[in-house]
């Protein structure tokens, strides 16, 4: 299916005195949402409270299935449905031992959108397409984006290395326009975006929507430990570190005792097993126990831009207003 490329339409509307900005792009049309803002399917972080709140606020909330068992995912989907009638999605981590079962749960529960990470979802495409699930793989290279288009993905998320968690090599600034040039399906930009300026910039690069993670971690509806949220609020521009480059699985987190030890050992040429022992269960430590010293505080470089806690609705409203201001407001001298 060839999708015609149109410019994003941003309109201001007055509703009972307050001006509300409308944003219409191929992504809002494809997903049936108000704003082309997608909340990333972060492992352990993106559960149903957060996903439902983002969808209610007009974006697309996503439940992160990570390595969780299928029963947990089904329960999460059912709970999200009770909280919102609007579309939401599920992110499948394709290396999960439960990926096959979760792929089926998505169809059975009639989930509207699926995003995929850590590989290629080709073997599930037919099943999802028949069930009219919109499929949006997360990619970190042009080659994978092309491959996803060929197997009939509806859109792709082009995620730059500024993102948190498992990352690729290319930056958002360079990856997004190259993916935009390489495929005809709409591209969603991710990595490093945390405010209206970032969203406006993503549109300028040719994206039709954005996916954000870090900014949503600190929202009130997000159930992670307060310590984790506080670390993100506190983080500055240089507080982001990448561990695991030596074993081919780079992961971006906020720096702490764990990253210090890890990077030191990595430099000394420690074995894969020894390094893995340092991060094993680290995300759970951060999210559930609030252990900010030894846990994996997964967050993107945008943590430095995230400075206050608010509800998802307030955040999305702020993002939309900020985007409108950037795109409408002149960035040049008169």
């Amino acid at each position: 299916m060839k999708i015609e490329t149109k410019r994003p339409i941003i309109k201001k509307k007055k509703v009972s005195g307050e001006s509300i900005v409308k944003m219409k792009t191929e992504i809002t049309e494809l997903l049936g949402i108000e704003y082309p803002i997608i909340q990333g399917g972060m492992a352990w972080v993106a559960e149903y409270h957060l996903a439902a709140a983002v969808s209610e606020a007009g974006g697309l909330g996503i439940i992160g299935a990570a390595s969780a068992p299928p029963e947990w995912v089904r329960d999460q989907i059912q709970k999200a449905k009770k909280m919102t009638d609007k579309p939401f999605g599920v992110n499948i981590m394709l290396m999960s031992p439960y990926a096959d079962e979760i792929a089926k749960v998505i169809v059975e529960e009639k989930v509207k959108v699926v995003t995929t990470g850590a590989g290629s979802p080709e073997k599930y495409m037919q099943m999802w397409k028949e069930a009219d699930v919109k499929v949006i793989p997360v990619v970190a290279s042009v080659a994978l984006a092309k491959r996803m288009e060929r197997c009939h993905a509806d859109a792709v998320v082009a995620e730059g290395t500024e993102a948190g968690g498992h990352i690729g090599e290319a930056s958002t600034m360079t990856l997004v326009p190259q993916v935009v040039d390489a495929v005809k399906i709409p591209v969603i930009a991710a990595g490093g975006i945390a405010d209206g300026r970032g969203i406006a910039a993503a549109f300028m690069l040719g994206a039709k929507g954005v996916q954000m993670g870090t900014a949503f971690i600190v929202t009130e509806e997000c159930q992670v430990h307060e310590n984790y949220k506080n670390e993100i609020i506190r983080a500055r521009d240089i507080d982001s570190k990448v561990t695991g480059r030596s074993c081919g699985h780079p992961v971006r987190t906020l720096r702490n005792q764990m990253t210090k030890l890890y990077l030191q050992k990595e430099k000394e040429g420690a074995s894969f097993e020894e390094l893995e022992a340092l991060t094993l269960g680290g995300l759970k430590k951060a999210v559930v126990e609030g252990d900010v010293k030894n846990g994996s505080l997964m967050a993107g470089q945008s943590a430095g831009l995230v400075t206050e806690k608010m509800t998802c609705e307030m955040l999305i409203r702020k993002l939309v207003k900020g985007t409108e201001k950037q795109i409408r407001g002149s960035v040049f001298y008169e």
């Binding site: 850590a118 590989g119 290629s120 080709e122 073997k123 970190a140 290279s141 080659a143 994978l144 092309k146 491959r147 197997c151 690729g168 090599e169 081919g248």
Partner: protein, 75 residues
């Protein structure tokens, strides 16, 4: 075919073609990560006009494997 394949590998993974042997492993010997592997697969497909199914990706770990796959699946 093996020679052409070596050229593709050398270019995609930025290694000297002289160092490549039939049993050179993309991952172990050349340090290819998952992004590199997709790069390779897309280049093979383009060159040889063969579609490599995703479930077969894991089976193709060396130049020899790739050549055998292409041979078996070409029209």
């Amino acid at each position: 075919m093996t020679e052409r394949m070596k050229e593709i590998v050398a270019e995609a993974l930025n290694v000297e073609i002289e160092t490549l042997k039939e049993d050179t492993s993309f991952k172990e010997d050349l340090g290819a990560d998952s992004l590199d592997l997709f790069e390779l697969v897309m280049a093979f497909e383009e060159e040889f006009g063969v579609e490599i199914l995703s479930e077969d990706l894991e089976k193709i770990t060396t130049i020899k494997d790739a050549a055998a796959y292409m041979e078996a699946h070409k029209e």
